[in-house]
């Protein structure tokens, strides 16, 4: 820096946003996600269909007039079902991902900030829970409870919170040793100020990046559970249950029952990954610029 110009420097949030907007991959991800959201939530306005009542006179129709993506084995319009099922997948995925991130962040921050025995005990619990592969745990829990949207959200969040917890704990441990926290203590500041003024704002980047990956994972979990036969009871649907319903017809070549929901899952999960990756780069760019002048 050679001169101190008069206008203030943009803050970290704006710098991050600018870096994100400059990242093509991330921008593509965000656009794809917006398009999918519009498709699922606004689509039925343009293409209204009955997703409650089966129509056994119209089963397994190939794509054609009136049914752009054909019909299912129960006579639902496939395009409309894709919108209908997408709402479930996205709603449950988003809710579970956010819930898991919130709980995991608090858990991790507490463990990391207090350290010592509390930390060791709390982390062994997450180790043990992580040791049992998520799908196994989900399947056992799902056989015990009867699936409904809130239950699904809770069940998925109950396994998904582990990774943000670990991550935030590591971040809190690292931030706790930073000199600016020592400086703050020397001014007489206490734990509250440390956590809310310094640790959390500086961990926000990590948490946000992880949240996007959590949501992606949660959407996948919804699909896996449905595939394993543990989905919301019909006429409700989600992309995973649609896909597993279509598997029966692989042999006879009813591709429209398989590819639309499958690709929809791939698309939405990839979109979240692109956004997360872009956010990570954006936060990194910010950090890279710091310290260099």
């Amino acid at each position: 820096m050679t001169t101190l110009a008069l206008d203030a420097t943009p803050g970290p949030a704006r710098r991050t946003l600018a870096a994100f907007a400059g990242n093509k991959l991330a921008l593509t991800g965000a656009l794809v996600l917006l398009a999918l959201l519009a498709f699922c939530f606004l689509g039925p306005l343009i293409h209204p269909t009955d997703q409650i009542h089966t129509d056994l006179s119209q089963t397994n129709l190939a794509p054609g007039a009136g049914h752009p993506l054909g019909t299912t084995d129960l006579g639902y319009d496939m395009l409309g079902r894709l919108m209908h099922g997408g709402r479930t997948s996205l709603e449950v995925g988003l809710a579970a991902g956010v819930l898991a991130t919130l709980f995991g962040t608090v858990y991790g921050a507490v463990a990391g900030y207090f350290g010592g025995w509390a930390d060791a005990a709390m982390m062994r619990v997450t180790d043990a829970a992580l040791a049992i592969p998520a799908l196994f745990l989900l399947v056992v829990v799902a056989t015990i409870v009867t699936p409904s949207k809130p239950v699904l959200i809770l069940v998925i969040a109950s396994v998904a919170w582990l990774s943000p917890a670990r991550l935030v704990r590591g971040e809190a441990l690292a931030l706790r040793g930073r000199d600016y926290l020592h400086a703050m203590r020397l001014m007489g500041g206490g734990g509250g100020r440390a956590v809310f003024r310094h640790i959390l704002p500086n961990a926000v980047g990590t948490v946000m990046v992880n949240a996007t990956f959590q949501i992606a994972d949660a959407i996948l979990y919804v699909a896996y559970l449905s595939f394993l036969g543990l989905s919301l009871p019909p006429p409700a649907a989600d992309w995973g249950s649609m896909l597993s319903a279509g598997i029966t017809y692989t042999q006879v070549g009813h591709w429209w029952l398989i590819f639309p929901p499958g690709l929809a899952i791939v698309l939405v999960v990839a979109a979240f990954h692109c956004i997360g990756d872009g956010l990570r780069d954006a936060f990194d760019v910010r950090l890279e610029n710091l310290g260099r002048s």
Binding site: M1, T2, L4, A5, L6, D7, A8, T9, G11, P12, R178, D179, Y180, H182, A183, M184, R185, L186, M187, G188, G189, R193, R197, H198, P201, N202, L287, N289, L290, G291, R292, S293
Partner: protein, 676 residues
């Protein structure tokens, strides 16, 4: 001059970044005869390291040579194809880098790494190469080389690793060794040993040497000729003695004037205002003109050429040799500096502000700042970081703590400011034992003692603007309303010489020197009676060091602050401190009035430490016996006198009992040694 070994002609290097290009070198020319030695000096960012790296074409990503020639033994390295270069690197041209911690491969044995160049360039068998490597390790003074061959870098100390790096560079007996800041990361006594080693090997192998350093003391007695770089060009080139006695370029003169070693009581070291050019654009005119007190119109429009024979310089208003011969630093860049009246000693009373008695701090070995990653559970014992220190700091006084890394001086600082609690002993501030304070009292006490960090940047939340950073102490302590706080912040910025507009900026937008000013401003926000400054200058260039040093003195005079100044740099401490304490392995071995301790040291450690300092003066008399060896681990300190394992005079008694503190000659000058 004889046929040169290395000849650099009009070298130009650019480094392309994400969205900008730095013109790192802009027409550098150098000559080096076989067996000759050249020092390259200058502030950071002036192109010293780039010059060294471009000779081997090891430029960082994005860097490329855009013009000029590098003739090494008749081959133009700037244009040579990669295979030709590979045949030269490590073979006839060796290089030693700055940081011995990162320049060795952590997962290869030392033996394999040292033997590597031989296998690449020689026709030796593996076994022969290994035995040569072992021989080389012995030559660079690595104890028990045969055993060390199978060790990994992390098992060696920094100094030992640098010896290994030197062995690696020299194993093919190159004709030229390039050493880029080879001692910057090392302690004073190790630095001295490494420089002696390079000297010795150069003589033995008859090779030429290029020594790149920011430290004028390092080159003063170790090279034949010096090139001073500024802004990607050579400002001045001269035989070493001529450069130190009769510098001609105004930049060289200013650099010398900034040295604390050359300062006297009446003339503090003079900083160079401003910063080196960023080199994003090619400056017009003399690159030093914006910081030069003598610059005229011509300097700003025309670029001076390097002119002259053996002593050449690129300056339109060179220093008159007749003036500088008497006192080379007298007429510095800032013409007012020499004229300033001798500083009145700051007012101070005999009232003790801070009193430590028997303060000790031990860490369990498996936790705390010394713990290795994954060191595991072990009852191996404790680290004795600070072991029974008693001292008194009076109001308005500057108490300097000197010691090498690992001496416990930073831990002592942390204990005094209350970041950690001592395991033993008491710390009294203005008569009150800090450990007896209640929470509320402790919070209020925080106003009295503040810490100035070594890296002020790390000590500021990167997400806060400077205004918020400076306001934080006032908010925490509940001082003033918003408007008053704003006024106070403006006042603080004025005090440390920063524009008031800085409040809207983020810490990362400031240079190293400006950040230290910010750090000082924040330390002063609560108007403390004592500021503990932990190596506040060590990350700065000399030119900036001098500015901060001066600022600290001025503020002390104005506000009557006391400093506890922690530093490894004896020259800086000599300049600033009224009282000095010398620490070794957690003990205060000697303490007393600065003048007395630093001119007539009583403890063998202090004597050794002073002897390792290389004064920036080619004619300085060779000092006494410098320290040899390395400090033992604080996990297993020697019995009795902790220094005895490195002490040239140690006797049986030293191992048996701890030396008592005596005050043999000068009042207040105490020493803990059996032999005084």
């Amino acid at each position: 001059m004889t046929h040169p070994l290395l000849r650099i002609e009009d070298l130009r290097v650019e480094i392309a970044g994400r969205d900008r290009t730095v013109h790192a070198l802009d027409g550098v020319s150098l000559d080096l005869a076989p067996g000759d030695s050249l020092g390259i000096v200058g502030e950071s960012g002036c192109g010293k390291t780039m010059t060294a790296l471009s000779v081997l074409r090891l430029l960082p990503p994005g860097g490329r040579i855009t013009g000029g020639r590098i003739l090494f033994d008749g081959t133009d390295l700037a244009a040579a194809p990669e295979p030709v270069l590979r045949g030269i690197r490590g073979n006839t041209l060796g290089m030693v880098f700055q940081d011995p911690l990162t320049c060795l491969n952590p997962t290869l044995t030392i033996g394999a790494q040292v033997a590597e160049p031989l296998l690449l360039h020689g026709s030796l068998s593996k076994a022969e190469a290994r035995s040569r490597a072992e021989e080389m390790l012995r030559l660079v003074g690595l104890p028990r080389p045969a055993e060390r061959m199978a060790h990994y870098p992390h098992q060696l100390s920094g100094g030992m690793r640098q010896r290994v790096a030197i062995a690696m560079a020299l194993i093919c007996e190159p004709r030229l060794l390039i050493a880029d800041e080879p001692t910057t990361a090392l302690d004073a006594s190790t630095r001295h040993q490494i420089l002696e080693l390079i000297d010795d090997l150069r003589e033995r192998l008859g090779m030429a040497l290029i020594l790149v350093t920011h430290d004028l003391g390092v080159i003063a007695r170790r090279v034949d000729r010096v090139a001073v770089m500024y802004g990607g060009r050579i400002a001045e080139r001269a035989p070493v003695r001529r450069l130190f006695t009769t510098p001609r370029h105004r930049y060289t003169q200013a650099l010398l004037a900034a040295l604390p070693e050359r300062a006297t009581a009446g003339r503090p070291p003079a900083g160079i205002p401003g910063l080196p050019p960023s080199l994003l654009t090619r400056p017009t005119g003399c690159r030093f003109a914006p910081r030069c007190g003598f610059a005229g119109d011509r300097c700003r429009t025309t670029e001076p050429d390097l002119a002259g024979g053996e002593h050449s310089f690129a300056c339109f208003h060179p220093v008159d040799p007749a003036v500088t011969r008497t006192d080379p630093a007298a007429a510095a860049t800032d013409p007012a500096a020499g004229l300033r009246a001798p500083a009145a000693p700051p007012e101070r009373s005999d009232e003790p502000l801070l009193r430590l008695s028997g303060v000790a701090k031990t860490y369990p070995l498996r936790a705390g700042p010394f713990a290795r990653r994954r060191s595991g559970e072990g009852r191996a014992g404790e680290i004795s970081a600070v072991a029974g220190i008693s001292l008194t700091v009076r109001r308005g006084e500057t108490f300097g703590i000197v010691g090498e890394s690992g001496s416990g001086k930073s831990t002592l600082g942390r204990l005094i400011v209350g970041l950690e609690a001592p395991t033993e002993g008491t710390i009294r501030f203005a008569g009150r034992d800090i450990s007896t304070l209640t929470r509320r009292e402790l919070r209020a006490h925080r106003r009295n003692v503040q810490l100035m960090f070594q890296d002020s940047y790390a000590a500021m939340d990167p997400r806060m603007r400077v205004g918020a950073v400076l306001r934080e102490p006032l908010v925490i302590q509940g001082i003033g309303n918003k408007a008053e706080q704003r006024r106070r912040i403006a006042e603080l910025l004025d005090d440390v010489g920063l524009p008031r507009g800085a409040v809207d900026r983020y810490p990362h937008e400031f240079s190293g020197g400006q950040r230290q000013r910010l750090g000082l401003a924040r330390a002063l926000a609560l108007a403390p009676a004592l500021v503990v400054a932990d190596e506040p200058l060590s990350a700065l260039d000399v030119s900036v060091q001098a500015q901060i040093l001066r600022l600290m003195r001025e503020l002390q005079r104005e506000k009557g602050i006391g400093y506890l100044f922690i530093s490894h740099d004896l020259a800086v401490v000599r300049h600033l401190a009224d009282t000095v304490g010398v620490m070794y392995l957690g003990k205060l071995v000697e303490t007393g009035p600065a003048r007395s301790v630093l001119t007539r040291p009583l403890h063998p450690y202090t004597q050794g430490l002073l002897a390792t300092v290389s004064p920036p003066d080619p004619d300085a008399a060779a000092p006494g016996t410098p320290l040899s060896g390395e400090a033992p681990s604080a996990a297993a300190p020697p019995s009795g006198c902790r220094f005895r394992t490195r002490c040239p005079h140690a006797v049986a008694l030293c191992a048996d009992s701890e030396p008592p503190v005596a005050e043999p000659f000068v009042a207040g000058h105490r020493v803990a040694c059996h032999l005084v």
